[in-house]
């Protein structure tokens, strides 16, 4: 599992995962959240709403355990590589947000839309209500359009 998590992180963000950095932990959570919703099951995780958006306690505990272990080469499936590429594309342009805020924004909008199932017209407002620091209107609208495409059938 450690190899997978570290390699997933590196494949998507092009940097080495370091558990001691909060931004890395948040970005790993969101990368795995996106992949799971695209039909690429990374582990038996379940995400619930947390301070920084969708969060899995199990994933966090596994990521911590992994931090001290060396990375081995992992051969992912073609489907996984496709999804890495898709995530990399939409992560690349963060607008006025930092990368961590950007993935938090997209994942949170996705969770509000598909799990909490808030009406599509209210989702962005709900995000700002829950996370006042995610206040870049144009970027939020763009993030919402991306969030709508993070499903396996699309």
């Amino acid at each position: 599992m450690c190899d997978f998590l570290k390699e997933v992180y590196k494949s998507i963000y092009d940097e080495t995962f370091d558990y001691s950095v909060l931004d890395h932990r948040i970005k790993l959570q969101k990368a795995v959240y996106f992949l799971e919703n695209m039909g690429v099951t990374v582990g038996d995780y379940s995400f619930s709403w947390n301070k920084y958006g969708p969060y899995s306690l199990k994933l966090d505990s596994e990521a911590k355990k992994c931090s001290a272990e060396p990375v081995r080469i992992v051969k992912f499936s073609d489907r996984a590589y496709e999804c890495f590429e898709k995530i990399k594309r939409f992560v690349a342009d963060c607008g006025a947000y930092s990368k961590k805020e950007w993935v938090e924004c997209i994942a949170s909008l996705h969770y509000l839309l598909y799990v909490i199932r808030i009406d599509a017209s209210d989702v962005v407002n709900e995000l700002i209500k829950r996370k006042p620091y995610l206040d870049k209107e144009d970027d939020n609208v763009r993030a919402f359009e991306i969030a709508k495409t993070i499903r396996i059938a699309l």
Binding site: K58, F76, S77, V115, R151, I152
Partner: protein, 495 residues
């Protein structure tokens, strides 16, 4: 006028006797999309070993509806008041009836394949055995992992529970029948109960727990049903005593279903029965290899362009269009066997496309055969000490053979414990460790709510609430960390 449950028909079930049906249920079970479940065996290929195990997801679904209603009728508040009205009971009955409507051919065997999409798998026996080795090597490390309690499957689109919600939302007839007879039922509530989601509507927490927790209607039915049909005795426990002790209270403003202290013994009995059902039937040496062979071959069918087995996207499109297309209705156990046979009738030489051991699996399954079990290889240990288990395994030949590149053996590794519960002190220490500092009592309450929802809460007469593992009267306070580990080798005769 308030809705009242009235039964209009009944079905004789070998496990529970007569199962009564309301009009809405009677019409739903007549739909082709529900009858599809008659073509999904509950235990995949287990009937090749336990000949009676021919039962289907159809019978199980009726059983879950029946059991969840008995639980709802018997559930009491701490001061012995009834809890659910007839509208809520009907909602629960529908969720129980429909909870497996998105299941796969050969049940979890095929589901596992659709969920395993991260890495390239089964290209060689060496790869397969190396993954077993990784699982064994993991035992030497201290286990700092924390489970996600109350798993919500909305974020796992290929999980059968999520697929079930897609079936329900895309089926015109199910929605029409429910609206006709039960306009008070919100389809979204049914879906939340099926996938185990308490995030959207916390007030349905009690209903979700009756289908999604350590002692729920789903588990109760399958333990009883699997035992009855397989002919084993591992499904026995005092069901009536369990029902009589069901109780609900609030914790952190959320409903938590639990048992009164008098129910501890029956829950212990149930969890031990469940443990034996796995170690003696599901992990039976023949059942386990047959399931693994079917799983490996299913993966081949999905990957092989000559096969018409659907990929993930195609399967979801079957579901979206199933009102006008039979693709999903035909996605049953029969489709697996049809595809297996069809490969003989084409001009395809399987050996040109897949590894020799997969060709061998194709041959064997067509002739009701399995890989030969190496009797000397079997190693089984029950322990609560992971490091000791690891030390015991690494001295065995079977462990060293995992590095062999000879492609002539397949190793299976199973692990089963008694409960997924973790004592409160340990759970809190692990969360503190993740956070690098102690969390506050309020923060812990949020984590602990899910732990209490999923586990078996013991609710005292004064309202005090704790999990079974934290109750010294329960045998689970000793067994919570104990697992049985089984390692077996099978010989593959590559021609």
């Amino acid at each position: 006028m308030a809705y009242r449950i009235e039964f209009v028909d009944r079905i004789l079930d070998p496990v529970h006797g007569f199962i009564d049906l309301t009009q809405v249920e009677k019409e739903i079970i007549e739909l082709p999309i529900f009858k599809r479940l008659q073509s999904l065996k509950q235990l995949s290929l287990t009937n090749w070993v336990f000949p009676g195990a021919e039962h289907t997801r159809y019978m199980h679904s009726l059983g879950v509806m029946h059991i969840v209603d008995l639980m709802a009728i018997n559930l009491r508040t701490v001061d012995y008041q009834s809890y659910f009205n007839d509208e809520q009971r009907q909602l629960l009955r529908l969720a129980g009836l429909l909870h497996d409507i998105g299941h796969y051919p050969l049940s979890h065997v095929t589901e596992y394949v659709y969920l395993s999409t991260l890495v390239e798998e089964n290209q060689s026996l060496f790869d397969y055995n190396q993954r077993v080795k990784e699982q064994i090597d993991d035992l030497q490390k201290s286990d700092t992992r924390i489970p996600d309690y109350m798993k919500d499957r909305y974020t796992v689109p290929m999980h059968h529970e999520y697929m079930g919600t897609e079936v329900i939302k895309n089926d015109n007839d199910i929605k029409r029948i429910i609206n006709k007879y039960c306009s008070f039922v919100d389809i979204e509530d049914i879906c939340d109960i099926i996938v185990g989601c308490v995030a959207r509507k916390p007030e349905i927490s009690a209903m979700v727990q009756l289908i999604h927790s350590e002692v729920d209607a789903d588990g109760i039915d399958y333990i009883m049903r699997d035992a009855t049909f397989s002919g084993t005795s591992y499904g026995g426990f005092e069901l009536g005593l369990l029902f009589r002790n069901l109780v609900v209270t609030k914790y952190n403003n959320i409903d938590i279903i639990g048992i009164r202290p008098k129910g501890i013994s029956v829950v212990d009995q149930y969890l031990i029965s469940k443990y034996f059902a796995y170690t003696q039937v599901i992990f039976n040496r023949h059942v386990a290899i047959l399931d693994t062979m079917a799983e490996i071959f299913t993966k081949t069918l999905i990957r092989l362009s000559k096969s018409t087995y659907p990929g993930a996207k195609e399967l979801l499109s079957y579901i979206k269009n199933h009102n006008t297309n039979d693709g999903y209705l035909k996605f049953t156990d029969r489709s697996f066997w049809t595809q297996l046979d069809a490969l003989n009738k084409t001009d395809v030489d399987l050996a040109d496309y897949v590894s020799a051991f997969i060709v061998e699996i194709h041959e064997k399954l067509q002739h009701y055969q399995e890989f030969e079990f190496n009797k000397e290889s079997e190693f089984m240990i029950t322990s609560n000490d992971r490091a000791k288990v690891y030390e015991s395994i690494i001295g065995k030949d079977i462990y060293h053979n995992l590095d062999s590149k000879e492609e002539n053996r397949l190793v299976l590794f199973h692990r089963k414990g008694f409960t997924s519960e973790m004592p409160e002190g340990l759970y809190r220490r692990k969360i503190d460790d993740i956070n690098n500092e102690p969390i506050t009592d309020d923060e812990f309450k949020d984590y602990n709510t899910k732990r209490l929802q999923e586990g078996v809460a013991v609710i005292e007469p004064d309202g005090d609430i704790h999990l079974l593992v934290d109750d010294k009267k329960s045998i689970m306070s000793f067994l919570y960390n104990t697992n049985t580990y089984i390692l077996r080798e099978y010989l593959v005769d590559n021609k």
